[in-house]
Symmetry: C2
Subunit: 286 residues, 2 copies
């Protein structure tokens, strides 16, 4: 069932809650791919009712980013959701979420602000204000849908860690369920922004996963020094790549690591032409 209005979602939720049903929420910006599909399936199998939100959230885009050209594919998204048994597709307009007028700034809008220590690094460094926008919209969606479980992909690992911190800090009665990255056979992590890539670009984009897989292999072979591990990466990069970061950080609090261990995540971001791609890998998991 496709719903555009907050009040209509609330009415359905109230009905379900009164029946004692559990609710899963999968927040997305649409342009759904198999990565999203795996999150949605997990929710459908775990919860009595599943809500997928589709909202390209303006306040998490920075000036100059791709808000206007971000892929919007509602018809296809709706079909994917219906195929896997989603109960509500919640697709509000920006006006429905933020009201009218020029209120989408912290001059006139209440924000949920994640801790500076979690946002002053990795993607937060180049995307100033991005995670404030993410936390604010996810908080709003939590308040509207009141889910028992919310499903987020490990592809956006910094986001996942920040949202877990938000839930903990604000005592939000929602359990965050992390879901593994889904990759093409080539290794490329699925992303809605892959739509921006030509076939040629896509080959260049393999550098991300290759670097991460190689670092993990070296780590498993006994190299623990992060500087040494980083150096193994550069052979995968060429002049088509503009590396934004390659960093080793703690899986819980994003503290920087000098010596890699089972609790280390390797984060990478790089640009191919004007397309910015991210990926990450946990050294601890098999």
């Amino acid at each position: 069932m496709l719903i555009h209005k907050i009040e209509e979602v609330r009415n359905k939720i109230r009905e379900w809650k009164s029946q004692g049903l559990t609710i899963g929420l999968v927040p997305t910006m649409g342009a759904l791919h198999d990565g999203h599909k795996s999150l949605i399936k997990k929710s459908v199998s775990k919860c009595d009712k599943t809500v997928v939100s589709i909202f390209v959230n303006p306040i998490q885009f920075c000036p100059g980013e791709d808000l206007d050209k971000y892929p919007r594919t509602l018809d296809a998204d709706e079909k994917l959701c219906n195929d896997v048994g989603v109960d509500i597709i919640f697709a509000p307009s920006p006006k429905e979420m933020y009201g009218e007028g020029h209120i989408m700034s912290n001059d006139f809008l209440t924000y949920v602000t994640p801790p500076f220590f979690y946002v002053n690094k990795l993607c937060g460094k180049s995307r100033v204000g991005h995670f404030d926008g993410v936390c604010t919209v996810v908080n709003k969606l939590f308040n509207i849908v009141q889910p028992d479980f919310a499903f987020f992909g490990e592809k956006d690992r910094q986001q996942l860690i920040i949202l877990k911190k938000m839930v903990n800090d604000l005592n939000i009665p929602v359990e965050i369920i992390p879901c593994p990255i889904v990759r093409e056979e080539s290794g490329l992590a699925l992303s809605s922004r892959n739509k921006y890539l030509s076939e040629e670009d896509k080959k260049e984009a393999l550098a991300l996963s290759k670097i991460l897989f190689n670092i993990k292999a070296c780590y498993k072979n006994g190299i623990k020094d992060c500087k040494a591990l980083t150096e193994t990466a550069y052979s995968y990069l060429n002049s088509n790549h503009s590396l934004e970061y390659l960093e080793f950080r703690d899986a819980n609090d994003l503290e920087e690591k000098n010596i890699a261990d089972e609790n280390t995540i390797v984060f990478i971001a790089l640009k191919i032409k004007n397309v910015r791609l991210i990926d990450n890998i946990s050294l601890g998991e098999l």
Copy 2:
């Protein structure tokens, strides 16, 4: 029932929700007086179950403020609550609310940040960060108690307006119920900080309500110009008073008023010796 632990409150709330009972929350910092009592009574009469939280919230105090000497009277508070039929008194420790260590800063803690336009004036001007602390703790309490209704006094009118804005902006499923200021026969608005005043100081403190009552009388007599209305105030002030602000603002969005109308609130803050007192009056109400 006095409860110190979040998990214990959650268990009770879950039980009540499953029975379809409505829940009222009265957030306080303790040192309860007849003003709080009127809020609590309203909740008890309106809701099936009433939770009063008692928590001197460290993050809403600014450096140099009265966090350490703020009155703490838990035994008397408990008695007052039990007398009027409160179901849960929730009195957590700072550690229970914020965890251990030095995390009470926006470096390491997720905050709920009210809009700058609402906090850069009145009390927010001298109490930088105060309303961030208020919004954050109230958001936490809402997530813990999940009330249908929350009761706040009009004594802290800027806080009330900011919290209503927060509820609206973040789609929080709680209805805020404003409760009128309770005054001594003398006119003095009840406040936990009145405990800091000597009998002599208390007489000086009457300046606040006298100024407000006089402005309202002049307004009712036809004076609408805010500058003219302000001038009527100064005859009540003497060298024992240090006026922080006397301002006319819109009841919904705190916009400044030059011409008073039925939607205008008059706000005053002044210090007597080192005790800072606030009061306000709505020109619209009878």
